[in-house]
Amino acid sequence: MATQTIAHGEQQRVNYLNWKTTVASWLFTYDHKRIGILYLVSITIFFLLGGIAAALIRMELATPKGDLLTSDVYNKMFTIHGVLMIFFFLVPSIPAVFGNFVLPMMIGARDVAFPRLNLLSWYFFMVGALLATIALVKGGIDTGWTFYTPYSSSFAKGEVSLAIVGVFLAGFSSIFTGINFLVTIHKMRAPGMTWFRLPLFVWAMYATSLIQVLGTPVVAITLLLVAVERSLRIGIFDPNLGGDPILYQHLFWFYSHPAVYIMILPGMGVISEVISAFSKKRVFGYHFVAFASLAIAIIGFLVWGHHMFSTGQSIYASILFSFLTFLVAIPSAIKTFNWMATIWKGRVHWEAPMIYALGFMGLFVIGGLTGLYLAAMATNVHLTDTYFIVAHFHYVMVGGAIMAYLAALHFWWPKMTGRMYPQSWAKLSALLVFVGFNLTFFPQFILGYMGMPRRYHSYPEEWAALNLLSSAGASVLGIGYLLPAIYLVWSLKYGRVVTERNPWGARGLEWELVDTPPDPHNFERTPIVTRPAYDYGHPEEPTGIIPKPRPVVVGGKDG
């Protein structure tokens, strides 16, 4: 199977991009690869919008006085930022873009199990995103991304219910994606693709899908109840009406803590792929990394109370939640150590995706470790609702999840587009992101430790220097994010054309058996998998083979 079987010249070869080119062929496509691209384009828009809000926030905070934005506008701004970034960028990012694009290829399938549901989920996402954006931009919502009651249900003006409907729809889009991937991983694996031959990205996606299916419905109904309380004034969450606001927080975090793993687990999967591909080594302790994903998904459902240590929740509950939170950090640590062991004595290639992956490791470790300061009840009382929290979750979500997203984008870009971006620019931007990120968010740990509360537009003079540093860092970070947008788009037209299947020399069906860019059906025929994942030790043995054509039955032209 080493040589191409297609007789026509390379330019003519049919691929998923060129076999149909009308707008309708994109909007009504059932092809998982095209749906992945649809998601890529749409979430990029929301990343940009959320980014603009972030820029305004940092501009306001560059000086102590609340001079650029009134406190009212400031509140709306961080709500826009949080809601768009979390529900409309990070949650769908790696699962919906790269899960869609590469997962079926990785397991040797022609498509996901339910292609139509897959497209439907994109439409749910788009309608939800549209409603939420209208509500946020025109409706003036200032509840923060957490929609805490009773403020959101009884006091907040603005189109809170509309935004809730938007998030609700996006939630169901996420549930559909989760169901689709669960079934795909269970039933669509090619012959020979046993569970323990799966690439670790697939394991991570399996764990993510579990969370999407088990967690998202709870937040969906909870937000719906907020909307009901708003319109009918029944006291589910508002104490003035007989309700209990703490119940809201329980229900909300029952989803939203696991949701942080929806954001990070797929990123961890990407890092496993990238690190092994650029160290030319099998991921160290494959089984541990695979089960760590599942452990995170399961234990992650039992720790939500760590967001509520200072709400008057029972002290015994808090002790338990604190303990379990420490527990959930262990599988993350296992993964980190295993990645380091993978790099150790590997033949490391310093290509752009690898630089991003290394950046992920550095930032994620800081984010995870500071989580432990928050998980300890005594320190939490001091640090909760300060910039320490802000720094913590930006280290894991931006430093972790977005770094991994960029690693994935750079890793699979040649496969997706058939073009290569300029390596030196990509490495430069990885460096800028890393440096800019630390400049932006490390000062916030110190600010939080000194007691600067989150969600205010002004602050005392003595915090001016660190805040200015943070804002300056944010502009470096911004350039770091803009660069890929420019050179990746540039590469679509001017980048080096990639025709070989495996430009990185990586292992995996999507590299070894799928054309660049992929055929609409991925494989000529369903492959047979013969080797475990990441079998870099046996370069002469392919991971899978395409079987001979099926025997001709009656009067067919050829196989």
């Binding site: 039933k187 669509m188 709870v218 109840l225 009918l232 209990d244 229900l251 196989g559």
Partner: protein
């Protein structure tokens, strides 16, 4: 390489049965794989539904413990007889649905249409009863946020001698233990009960409605298969709607005792 892998390598990937080809999705290799995929998908969807509705049941349970007296009083407004009839109706519909699935598996299109029709009929009765119940609530001004007025509950409670208006305007609710509440609290908490009633039965009713539409579509499909005298029709859609339908019934099996019965 296992024996099976070697065999596939020699003979190519499995061939779909020619009769199955038109119902086999492009992405699948065999019909068995497709059917299993649909089943797992449906179960995953049902699990999702359990969590979706489970959160409301949990909230209901919490408030029932907190406002036991008010909730017990308010729940007496629900008509346990109509609710009971509806329970039986839904159980009957589950039975006919199961028969419909069986008929679909055996490719007996006529019988399948008949049983689907029965199911639809029972579902219609259920919805009609719900309509009666809802309109009664409307007459008694018991729709939350819609001119809600606890008057009917007060009267009812007095008649049953479990509610006693105190001279200072408050109410005393007498179950095994007694509890005194202000009129405002009384209104809010009984309204909360009715709120849960409408949210739970409303979402459940919505599910019934979706099921009815799905059954209608299945009937049309079965009729087309019948006309074409198709030897092998795809029974999976019926099986899946069946699964969904049984799930919707089970939700009612939880709603009925939790809202209508306990505390009676």
């Amino acid at each position: 390489m296992s024996v099976k892998e070697a065999e596939v390598l020699e003979h190519g990937t499995s061939l779909a049965h020619p009769a199955h080809e038109e119902i086999l999705g492009e992405q699948f290799e065999t019909l068995e794989q497709q059917n299993n995929a649909y089943l797992i998908g449906m179960w995953a969807f049902i699990v999702q539904e359990v969590l979706f509705l489970g959160a409301i049941f949990a909230a209901y349970g919490i408030y029932r413990l907190k406002y036991l007296h008010e909730f017990t009083l308010a729940h007496k407004e629900l008509d346990w007889v109509v609710g009971g009839i509806n329970t039986l109706v839904l159980l009957a519909s589950s039975y006919t649905m199961a028969r419909a699935v069986r008929a679909a598996m055996q490719n007996k299109h006529g019988r399948q249409i008949l049983y689907l029709g029965f199911t639809l009929f029972f579902a219609g009765i259920f919805m009609f009863n719900k309509y009666i119940e809802y309109s009664k609530k409307y007459e008694h001004h018991l729709i939350p946020g819609w001119g809600y007025d606890a008057h009917a509950i007060v009267e009812h409670g007095e008649k049953k001698k479990i509610l006693e208006p105190l001279p200072d305007g408050n109410y005393k609710i007498k179950l095994e233990t007694e509890k005194t509440v202000t009129p405002e609290e009384f209104k809010q908490r009984t309204q909360l009960f009715l709120g849960f009633y409408f949210i739970l039965t409303g979402l459940h009713g919505l599910h019934v409605l979706v099921g009815m539409i799905a059954i209608g579509v299945l009937m049309v499909r079965a009729y087309i298969d019948y006309k074409k005298r198709k030897p092998v029709a795809d029974y999976m859609p019926v099986e899946m709607v069946g699964l969904y339908w049984h799930f919707v019934d089970i939700v009612w099996i939880f709603i009925y005792p939790l809202l209508y019965l306990i505390g009676r």
